[in-house]
């Protein structure tokens, strides 16, 4: 019985359709015109990344050596701002532009959070980048980071290939 529950739990956490950054909009958005607003948000986000030097390999080194408050300040403020925004959206039942109710997802714990988390942390310190900054580093002229991005895509692909054999 315990086994079934565990399997079901793994299944909901890992079912192929489950996306970690899902699109919950019911209104259909097709083509460039409907999606260009996400490109604009991404662009503003990328500008912040570079202007606050979050994409800098040196800033990540400072963070992991506890020699600068900068990155802790950025992440801390971002979480507080995000949490406050989510609270406001829930409290006042704000709707999306299309008039739909905003959808939130609970993330279920699995051991991948730990094992995968540590592996990503190792890569973060080597490259000085998480997935977002990778794109911004390429944009700021470090074209060789395209190789890092391709390797990250390969890593994701290998995870997909091995997923059922990995502990979760």
């Amino acid at each position: 019985m315990l086994h079934t529950t565990h399997d079901e739990f793994i299944d909901t956490a890992l079912k192929p359709e489950a996306c970690d950054a899902p699109n919950d909009l019911r209104t259909r958005e097709a083509g460039f015109a409907a999606n260009v607003k996400y490109l604009v948000v991404g662009m503003l986000f990328g500008i912040v990344f570079v202007k606050a030097e979050i994409v800098s390999w040196y800033r990540i080194q400072e963070m992991f050596r506890l020699h600068s408050f900068h990155m802790y300040g950025v992440i801390g403020t971002a979480v507080l701002t995000g949490a406050l925004s989510v609270w406001i959206i829930k409290r006042f039942r704000l709707k999306t532009l299309q008039g739909e109710a905003v959808v939130f997802h609970d993330k279920t714990f699995h051991w991948g959070n730990v094992i995968g988390g540590v592996l990503f942390g190792l890569g973060w310190a080597i490259t000085g980048a998480c997935p977002g900054p990778l794109f911004a580093q390429i944009g700021s002229g470090f074209v060789v980071v395209i190789v890092t991005l391709l390797s990250a895509i390969a890593g994701t692909w290998v995870y997909g290939l091995l997923r059922e054999r990995l502990p979760h």
Binding site: L39, V103, W124, T156
Partner: protein, 189 residues
Amino acid sequence: MLDVIREPWPWYVAGVLIGLTVPALLLLGNKSFGISSSLRHICAACLPAGIPFFQYNWRKEVWNLFFVAGVALGGIVATQVLRNPASVRVAEPTTQALQELGIAVDGKLMPTSIFSLETLFTAKGLVFFVIGGFLIGFGTRYAGGCTSGHAIMGLSTLQWSSLVATCCFMAGGFAMVHVIFPWLMPLLF
């Protein structure tokens, strides 16, 4: 005004703007913030290879690819238009620690002694681009998200598993810098 924008932005400005991405995406179109998913969508679009994990309608998630294309574009704008002529300042103890490892602090955004095309086919290239990138892609997908999906979106919605994941990201980073770097870097520099 433009001068103020050109200077490095303080953490509280950057933090607030990054945090605002969460409500911006939710209110613009019910999108949960998360960047590493884009890597999965690229796999699903380009090389699904019959793997169940890549069998889903990636076209529904195409917004995420627009978002990361925007991030790259933002990198271009920030560097070309809002360029800061001054060199990047690095904390003194970090500068010293890196110099002891043989990595020169050169005032650029990234050390050019590592992040240039000349190092691509060397041992440095293998470590910094190939292995580093692989760990990012494999690790984030295994963890179910990265700094944006877990540390920002997950913590903003008070997800316990995201707190665990975020602590593990940090643990991995500390281990790399303090345990692995001291013996790995002398082999490369």
